[in-house]
């Protein structure tokens, strides 16, 4: 019994960094932007409680349209990433063996160790009017003039899908790894076609990986800044850009804070809905990734 105060003191010391971290860098800052988002400027340097910043969001079409656009395009990007990544993950998990398998996975990882900005620079160099793709098309005589592939929605989607692929492939491959070959065999033996086996056995088995990958890709896409701004140019119109504009360019922090809360809400809502629809929990989902 005499050691008890000592143990409690040690525990207190060990807990201190975690409490400081979560308190000072996460909880209090979020309380701050929540409070800030409900403050309105009533006179120079005088602020009062009010819903004005949120009203502004709903009445100014540019704001809510950008928000809706960001949400819809992020869902589209997530779906596209899933479709593109699935055959790769299936190949890595079920077909490739030994060294080839390790190599394929490593090759997938490599580009993603490199900064997002370097990857985006690569796409800019490929896609712009004076870029590589346009140059090659003209040089081979397929087109007569240079073509601008950059600064449109297609370029933004391409860049975002590219950025999300790894975060889809790894959880998918992990989930598919545990699929028993015997179960797949049984499916074929019972007369199932390739398509039926894929739809009734493989995809349901991969569900935890699909959910984990989709949630991560969606969160990364919605919160992305550099890719839509650089590849979309003036047509990028991503919601994070609005937050940046309010905070840094216009110095309207309450408005920016309201936008930040809305982005947080969107991201959390979609994650929550995804988990509910598929009956997964956040803990196991993050472990998958």
């Amino acid at each position: 019994m005499s050691r008890k105060p000592g143990i409690r003191f040690t525990l207190f010391l060990l807990l201190a960094p975690a409490v400081l971290w979560l308190g000072l860098l996460i909880v209090l800052p979020h309380v701050e932007i929540l409070v800030l988002s409900f403050s309105e400027r009533v006179a120079p340097r005088v602020y009062a409680f009010g819903f004005g910043n949120y009203l502004e969001f709903f009445t100014e079409p540019l704001y809510w349209r950008t928000f809706a656009r960001t949400a819809i395009m992020s869902i589209l990007v997530t779906a596209l990433t899933l479709v593109l990544a699935f055959p790769i993950a299936l190949y890595i998990a079920r077909v490739a063996q030994g060294r080839v398998k390790a190599m394929l996975l490593l090759l997938c990882l490599l580009p993603f160790w490199v900064s997002e900005l370097v990857r985006t620079l690569g796409w800019m160099m490929l896609l712009r009017e004076t870029g590589v793709v346009s140059y090659l098309l003209q040089a081979t005589g397929l087109t007569e003039q240079r073509i601008e592939f950059l600064y449109n929605d297609g370029a933004v989607i391409l860049g975002l899908v590219y950025g999300g692929l790894l975060f889809m492939i790894v959880p998918l491959a992990n989930a598919l790894e545990s699929l028993e070959p015997a179960v797949v065999e049984a499916g074929f033996d019972l007369g199932g076609s390739r398509w039926t086996v894929l739809r009734r056995i493989v995809v349901p088995h991969a569900m935890p990986g699909i959910v984990a990958g989709s949630i991560i890709v969606f969160m990364l896409t919605v919160g992305n800044f550099a890719t839509p701004v650089l590849l979309g140019g003036k047509n990028g119109l991503w919601f994070t850009e609005q937050i940046y504009a309010q905070f840094i360019t216009r110095f309207n922090w309450p408005q920016g804070a309201a936008f930040g809360m809305l982005l947080l809400l969107l991201s959390s809502a979609i994650v929550w809905a995804g988990l509910r629809l598929t009956g997964q929990s956040l803990g196991t989902t993050l472990k998958q990734a």
Binding site: L110, R119, T240
Partner: protein, 279 residues
């Protein structure tokens, strides 16, 4: 399912080409003797790395003070972030794996939370909170507290807010595998707590400590979203690159990118080796 069809194989090949095309283009055009980072190929040069600026009007990356300063800024952020991530991450891992107290499940959930917050939101919330803190403290103490204003110290804090989750998870996973009878044996042989920690527990954890440190270093070097909101007058590398890319850059940015790729490749291979040692 085990005999892949030809279209499937072709798809795999096309996929890997797609994966590496942007990186290859960036690397190749770092050596192009042209003032613009675009085709046609004008011949091989190292001027974008070590040129004095005589040919293209701008010096190479390894000479240009703009790039050297920005790389130095990145290190000024990444090194403290990595060290703090390892130290605090180890303490957190200990709390998660060894301590028992009410509210532990809640705390472990809270630690995962930063991963689901968009980086931009982390950035603005920390910016707003520390500005309020600075205003309050300055009124109270009547001094300027510059480290709470946008700048490198605030960037360190902003990056730590989510990198700590990663380092905690990496170290906790290793600590979970630890066989506690090893520690008990050392205690039975008369070792003190500090000695057991130093000679038994920490050596076992060391691959995870190195791994967590390297991952933190990489994530700090490459972070853009949170950093953008907290940066002051000394931009780290991604911020400078972003600025140059918006203006229309010279191949100097390709040279920086290639150096970054090589650096990242080096760190990643050390990481892969420590991961192998862990097994």
């Amino acid at each position: 399912m085990n005999r892949p069809s030809l279209p499937w194989k072709l798809y795999i090949a096309a996929f890997y080409l797609f994966l590496f095309a942007p990186l290859l283009v960036v690397a190749i055009f770092a050596f192009n003797a042209s003032p613009f980072p675009s085709p046609p190929w004008k011949g091989f040069t190292l001027d974008w790395f070590i040129g004095s600026g005589g040919t293209f009007g701008k010096p190479g990356v390894l000479i240009d003070p703009i790039w050297l300063d920005t790389i130095a800024n990145s290190f000024k952020v990444a090194v403290p972030v990595a060290l703090l991530a390892v130290v605090v991450g180890t303490v957190n891992a200990w709390v998660l794996e060894r301590a028992e107290f009410p509210g532990k499940t809640f705390l472990s959930m809270m630690m995962l939370w930063p991963l689901v917050i968009p980086g931009v939101v982390l950035g603005i919330s920390i910016l707003a909170f520390f500005s309020r803190l600075a205003n309050g403290m300055e009124e109270w103490l009547q001094t300027d507290l510059d480290f709470l204003r946008p700048g490198l110290p605030l960037v360190v804090l902003g990056q730590l807010s989510f990198i700590l989750t990663i380092s905690t998870l990496i170290i906790a996973a290793r600590l979970r595998k630890f066989d506690r009878s090893l520690e008990e044996a050392a205690f039975d042989l008369g070792a003190s707590r500090a000695r057991v920690l130093r000679t038994v527990t920490l050596p076992f954890l060391s691959p995870a400590l190195i791994g967590a440190g390297l991952v933190a270093l990489l994530m700090s070097f490459e972070n853009f979203n949170t950093t953008l909101m907290l940066v002051g007058s000394e931009p780290p590398l991604p911020i400078t690159m972003y600025g140059q890319m918006r203006e229309g850059a010279t191949p100097a940015i390709n040279a920086v990118s290639l150096l970054l790729m090589l650096g990242v490749g080096g760190v990643a291979s050390i990481f892969a080796l420590t991961a192998k040692a862990e097994r």
